[in-house]
């Protein structure tokens, strides 16, 4: 319950406070958000499977964000930024969809 409240509170704070993100990081923010969402959905599914572990959640969250931002940054340097960004979004979307499907199976059958 508390984690969900923290997430919603964070979104509200983001709308209200509108913190200024350093200009260099601005392009990577959306993809980092999607990568973090993937970690969150994985955590929710693990919670429903009763195998949740804080350590794994924190590690997967941080590594997802870093790897996604790194891949997009590398793509920008190589000149294939939009293609690599599309690839990252596709993969993250796949993982999010399959985790949500597992969550759905839990919620509507158990």
């Amino acid at each position: 319950m508390i984690p969900a409240v923290a997430l919603v509170l964070g979104v509200v704070l983001g709308f209200v406070l509108q913190p200024t993100v350093p200009l260099a990081l601005q392009p990577y923010l959306p993809i980092a958000v999607v990568a973090a969402l993937d970690a969150v959905f994985g955590a929710v599914r693990a919670q429903l499977d009763h195998v949740f572990s804080d350590k794994v959640f924190v590690v997967s969250f941080v590594s997802n964000v870093l790897v996604a931002a790194l891949i997009v940054y590398l793509g920008d340097q190589l000149g294939v930024g939009s293609q690599l960004s599309t690839g990252v979004v596709v993969v993250l979307g796949l993982r999010i969809f399959s985790n949500v499907a597992a969550i759905r199976r839990h919620l509507f059958r158990a």
Binding site: A6, G10, F15, P19, V21, Q26, P30, V56, S98
Partner: protein, 297 residues
């Protein structure tokens, strides 16, 4: 094979890991961690860090959404500004082209009236007609070509309509073939939708528009050709492109019409760059002896 690989239990579908991940969902290591540590261990700091990360994620998501919303109208106004600028510059260029033509006409009139060219005036007139730099007035033929109307929404299922949406369009190929046939039949000057064709004018197609002299034209296309009206018409009707266009009228629904006219006025085409100028001698002299002139690159 390294020792560590054989210690992991091999699943029969180990090579399909991507498909497996798509179908069953990725497991970030929760199961392995639970198998090793058990799920009862929950350090207090783990919970705190997780909550802080989620808070940070929320703030980042909110900020990203706000930033995306704020950027949208700026993109639209930027586009609008560019479009206005393009329109303004195009209008300016058109005005300049008109004034160039007007001044060119004045120059030609002065040349003719001063008689400085003498016998070469006729040659100049003939060259101006051929090069497209002089306006032409005379009799000739007028050809009108228009795209087929788009397939109507209430076309019946059994209607043999065009296979693709743009089959009934007039392409640059058709215009090129008609114009080439007219030149071969002895046309002296040709214009399409008021654009005079010079020896350097290209008829091309880019995307959905036909470009004549790099200017996009939209149908219907009126091709005016000054010359012997009967000869032009006869040759066009008998030619391959004439017969093809006639077939397309019934097959695809384009409109194609050829008529002769006694009163065609073709404007001058875009002027070539001035390369050399010679000052003619004083008109009083019997034969003009041009003084060494200035080169104007």
């Amino acid at each position: 094979m390294p020792q560590s690989w054989s210690s992991v239990a091999k699943r029969p579908d180990a090579s399909m890991s991507l498909l497996r991940e798509v179908v069953e969902g990725a497991d970030d290591g929760y199961r392995e961690a639970a198998a090793v540590h058990g799920t009862s261990v929950r350090p207090w700091w783990g919970r705190l860090i997780a909550v802080l990360l989620l808070l940070g994620l929320g703030v980042a998501a909110g900020q990203a959404i706000v930033a995306a919303r704020m950027a949208a109208p700026e993109v639209a106004t930027g586009e609008q500004r560019l479009r206005t600028e393009v329109d303004r510059q195009t209008a300016g260029t058109d005005e300049l082209a008109l004034s160039v033509n007007r001044i060119q006409d004045e120059v030609s009139a002065l040349q003719t009236s001063s008689g400085a060219l003498g016998a070469r005036q006729d040659e100049l007139d003939r060259l101006q007609v051929a090069a497209g730099t002089g306006a032409v007035h005379g009799s000739g033929i007028l050809i009108t070509l228009d795209d087929a109307p788009p397939p109507s929404a209430d076309a019946g299922v059994g209607d043999p309509g065009p296979l693709q949406a743009d089959d009934g369009r007039i392409h640059d190929r058709e215009l090129q073939a008609v114009v080439n046939r007219l030149w071969a039949a002895g046309a002296e000057a040709i214009s399409i939708n008021g654009l005079r064709l010079t020896p350097r004018t290209a008829i091309r197609e880019a995307g959905q528009a036909v470009l004549v002299d790099f200017r996009p034209l939209s149908p219907p296309y009126s091709i005016r050709a000054v010359g012997d009206a009967d000869a032009l018409q006869a040759e066009l009707v008998a030619s391959r492109i004439g017969r093809s266009l006639q077939t397309y009228v019934s097959l695809l629904g384009i409109s194609y019409d050829v008529s002769s006219s006694d009163n065609l006025a073709l404007p001058a085409g875009s002027n070539p760059r001035l390369r050399a100028v010679e000052v003619a001698g004083p008109p009083a002299a019997g034969s003009t002896t041009p003084a060494p002139g200035t080169e104007n690159p």
